[in-house]
């Protein structure tokens, strides 16, 4: 019998209170591209972390070329030819591209770096990934797409047999994504096996040839991709037909809740004016670096602004508000969930109520009422279908989608009239995406206004009532809900066409 390159045999792993993986087996051959898909919390990351030696399996075997290998640490994985391109870049921003590439493997002679050899190695591997930047550039001056390429280049230095990509496109533009796909095809033709983890089904169909679907820690389906349809995959992922959005018609003549005029900020934002009306979802579309994130941050005073005013409807009246105080009426869901959303080492409950603690304080006794806090938290856990074993569980043990729901419920508890959501559905599985979109629709139905940023234009177009397009720090167009995708993309990429 032919021995496959990688064979996972009955891998199981449990964490306190959760069976993360149950008896998962699959095989992968040289030159194959396998898409590993599954909802958040399905066990994809756990499985890949076991393969990458980051965590230990409870039982099962990992066979490489038919030989049983132990993955006790990431070093073991590397020695066995397994490379992991992480979702979050593990890059040292203040060092040069050269240093980042070779940081763990400088060619050396008695402690001194062999400069020439280092430069040669770095340049040849950069060429391989199609990145033509100067190797002395500092990483912080490199765009996210090129950073991703550098990360991949670093992995290629060790001539891996299997390369794992964990959601590699979440911060890439269309062009960069295409370049990545070409690179993956190259790996394939060099007989490298690729495991590609993603939520985006379009990507699965454009790159993979095999697919493995995980649900609740079990491998529910696996096989050649051509035997699958989009609907079938979603069904396997969620265990049900995909949910539908319950979108309602927007009412006319609603009052304006937020008015921004003439907002500028040192070169990043130029003279931005916008109005946000009650009951509407305003989509803010733009490419990375267009200033969309900077705009929402400036509105709530997280980034400084040089000029401009912000008016918020307070007691039936639009009033000028200082941006430092704007967050009293505005809920911001930050793009950077880990650094600006989560208190990772703290319990779920604390993460849920932290923005609204004063609601749980008695009138006479000025201390927190734990019972009320529990009750309110439990209510939102139910309402948002958050999957957890206990409210005291640390939030870092939840899956990405559930973490995002906790952060959204943090704001729901505070109940502001305006929500600014920066990539709220990034890195979340199909099922949770629909749930969160429905939640946004409910919010506006109940009289809030939402400014929504998303890189996934189809997602954005499925719920927005109106669009603003940004390019290079300016608003370059406004479009009604029936605008075409081409128009939006066009406006985002061309400053002249308004």
């Amino acid at each position: 019998m032919k021995k496959s390159l990688l064979h996972l045999k009955s891998i199981s792993k449990s964490f306190p209170g959760v069976q993360a993986l149950k008896d998962v087996s699959f095989e992968l051959d040289r030159g194959e591209i396998l898409a590993l898909i599954g909802a958040n919390g399905a066990g994809k990351s756990t499985l890949m972390n076991i393969l990458g030696g980051v965590i230990q399996k409870d039982s099962g075997e990992i066979l490489i070329n038919g030989e049983n290998v132990q993955m006790r640490n990431p070093g073991d994985a590397r020695r066995n030819g397994i490379a992991f391109v992480h979702q979050e870049l593990t890059i040292l921003p203040k060092l040069s591209i050269l240093d980042n590439l070779l940081i763990s493997s400088f060619p050396e002679k008695s402690g001194f770096i062999k400069q020439k050899e280092a430069i040669q190695t770095a340049q040849s591997v950069l060429e391989r990934v199609g990145c033509n930047l100067d190797i002395n550039m500092k990483i912080m001056d490199v765009g996210p797409g090129d950073q991703q390429l550098i990360e991949i280049a670093r992995v290629l230095l060790f001539d891996p047999q299997v390369v794992i990509f964990d959601e590699p496109t979440s911060s890439l533009s269309k062009r960069e994504k295409d370049r990545l796909f070409v690179l993956i095809q190259q790996l394939k033709s060099n007989d490298v096996a690729v495991i590609y983890i993603t939520h985006l089904l379009e990507e699965v169909f454009s790159i993979a040839e095999k697919v493995a679907i995980l649900r609740n820690g079990e491998l529910v389906s696996e096989g050649l991709l051509k035997l699958y349809t989009r609907g079938k995959i979603i069904k396997h992922m969620t265990g049900a037909e995909s949910q539908t959005l319950h979108k309602k018609k927007q009412k006319q003549d609603q009052p304006c809740l937020l008015e921004v005029s003439g907002l500028s900020s040192h070169g990043l934002l130029k003279d931005i004016s916008l109005k946000l009306y009650q009951g509407e979802i305003l989509g803010l579309w733009g490419l990375l670096g267009s200033g969309r994130t900077e705009l929402v941050r400036a509105i709530v005073g997280l980034d400084p602004m040089d000029a401009g005013t912000i008016k918020i409807r307070i007691k039936e009246d639009l009033r000028v508000v200082k941006s430092q105080n704007a967050n009293r009426w505005i809920g911001l869901i930050s793009e950077d969930r880990r650094n600006e959303g989560l208190f990772v080492s703290m319990p779920v409950k604390v993460n849920m109520t932290i923005a609204n603690l004063k609601a749980f304080i008695g009138k006479i006794w000025p201390f927190l009422n734990f019972k009320a806090e529990d009750k309110s938290s439990r209510e939102y856990v139910q309402k948002l279908h958050i999957v957890l074993s206990s409210l005291e569980q640390k939030i870092e043990t939840l899956s990405g989608g559930n973490q995002q729901k906790v952060i959204i419920s943090r704001w729901l508890q505070r109940n502001p009239i305006i929500y600014l959501m920066d990539e709220p559905i990034k890195g979340i599985d199909v099922g949770a995406k629909v749930e969160i979109k429905n939640l946004i629709l409910d919010l506006v139905e109940n009289g809030a206004a939402v400014l929504l940023i998303s890189s996934e234009i189809d997602e954005l177009m499925s719920i927005c009532d109106r669009y603003l397009v940004m390019c290079r720090g300016q608003i370059t167009g406004e479009y009604p809900s029936n605008a075409s995708k081409e128009k939006l993309i066009g406006a985002a990429t061309n400053l002249l066409k308004t």
């Binding site: 306190p16 980051v54 967050n327 911001l332 989560l342 080492s345 932290i354 923005a355 201390f367 074993s389």
Partner: protein, 323 residues
């Protein structure tokens, strides 16, 4: 449901074992020392240890607030010295002991609030600010006392604060009382929750509308306030005050009490009562070494190693929890 509950209890026991074991080993060693040196385990010596730990323990309570928000206060001991000197001078010149006590609290809180302003409002680095404040307070104390010891402290001031209730000295009761109260406040008040949140993730705290500046400011202010309380106790116990009572090496005892007591140096975890327990352990080490007639310098070496072991354990626990 029941099974998961049992599991979580087991889990917490498991993680707490790591804390309990070294503490237990330390107590065991101390008991062994006690068997060798009979004086050590006498009621008198044990009460003495409690008494000695009170001042450090109270400062450690204050320091733990600063640790919670991820900061550092190197000025606590010098601040304690300065307010002690001010209070003693007032009493020496015939001032009312109650007013002198209040003045001590005011002076130390004032110093704490300057630290707080510099760190929270002006975004200065805590280490540098409080180090400079340590020099300022030290200098002021020497200047005010002309480098002598201030005596003439009111008799009633001394007698009330050195009184015993049953066999427990008043300062110990004060330390335990405030350790308990502040722990409850940290757990149950929104200010406490905010402090933990700021220390855990300051960016997320900002996005969550937590008034970060106020939270940080109050941590440094509280640190100052407790330094004042420690000053009251110390001046009463010594019956005098000098610049030397706040000698800067004392701040190491205070910081290590907090760390040994499980208050995270990195912010966001621990409790003030833990810091009090830490102060007891640190004092126990000094006292038992003293009883064994180990020299002061060797005691310093041993203390240093114990602290490193505890910090090492904490890092190890953090690393384990993360994987």
């Amino acid at each position: 449901m029941e099974i998961t509950q049992i599991k979580t209890i087991m889990q917490s026991l498991k993680s707490n074992w790591i804390r309990i074991v070294p503490t237990a080993i330390m107590l065991l060693v101390i008991i062994l020392i006690g068997l060798r040196v009979p004086v050590f385990l006498t009621q008198r010596n044990l009460i003495n240890i409690l008494q000695q730990s009170a001042s450090i323990g109270i400062m450690a309570i204050g320091m733990s607030f600063v640790f919670f928000v991820g900061g550092m206060d190197l000025s606590v001991a010098s601040n304690m010295g300065l307010s002690g000197v001010v209070g003693a001078l007032v009493m020496k010149n015939g001032g009312n002991p109650v007013i002198a006590g209040i003045l001590m609290l005011l002076v130390s809180t004032f110093i704490g609030s300057i630290n707080g302003l510099a760190v929270a409002k002006l975004n200065m680095i805590p280490f540098v600010v409080t180090l400079s404040m340590m020099y300022v307070a030290d200098g002021l104390s020497v200047w005010l006392t002309e480098a002598t010891s201030v005596t003439g402290i009111s008799e009633s001031f001394i007698s009330i604060l050195t009184m015993k209730i049953w066999i427990i000295p008043v300062p110990v009761i004060i330390m335990l009382f405030f350790g308990f109260i502040t722990t409850m406040v940290m757990k149950r008040s929104f200010l406490g929750r905010w402090m933990y949140a700021v220390g855990t993730n300051i960016k997320a705290a900002r996005v969550s509308c937590i008034p970060i500046e106020k939270v940080k400011f109050s941590a440094y202010l509280l640190s100052g306030l407790f330094a004042g309380l420690a000053a009251i106790i110390t001046t009463a116990r010594l019956g005098s005050a000098s610049a030397a009572i706040g000698q800067s090496i004392l701040v190491l005892d205070v910081a290590s009490s907090a760390v040994v007591g499980g208050v995270s140096f990195y912010g966001g975890a621990g409790s003030p009562f833990g810091a009090v327990i830490g102060a007891l352990l640190i004092t126990l080490i000094s006292n038992s070494m003293n009883m064994l007639e180990v020299s002061y310098y060797v005691t310093l070496i041993i203390k240093g190693f114990v602290i490193i072991i505890f910090i090492g354990l904490e890092s190890w626990i953090r690393a384990r929890n993360q994987s």
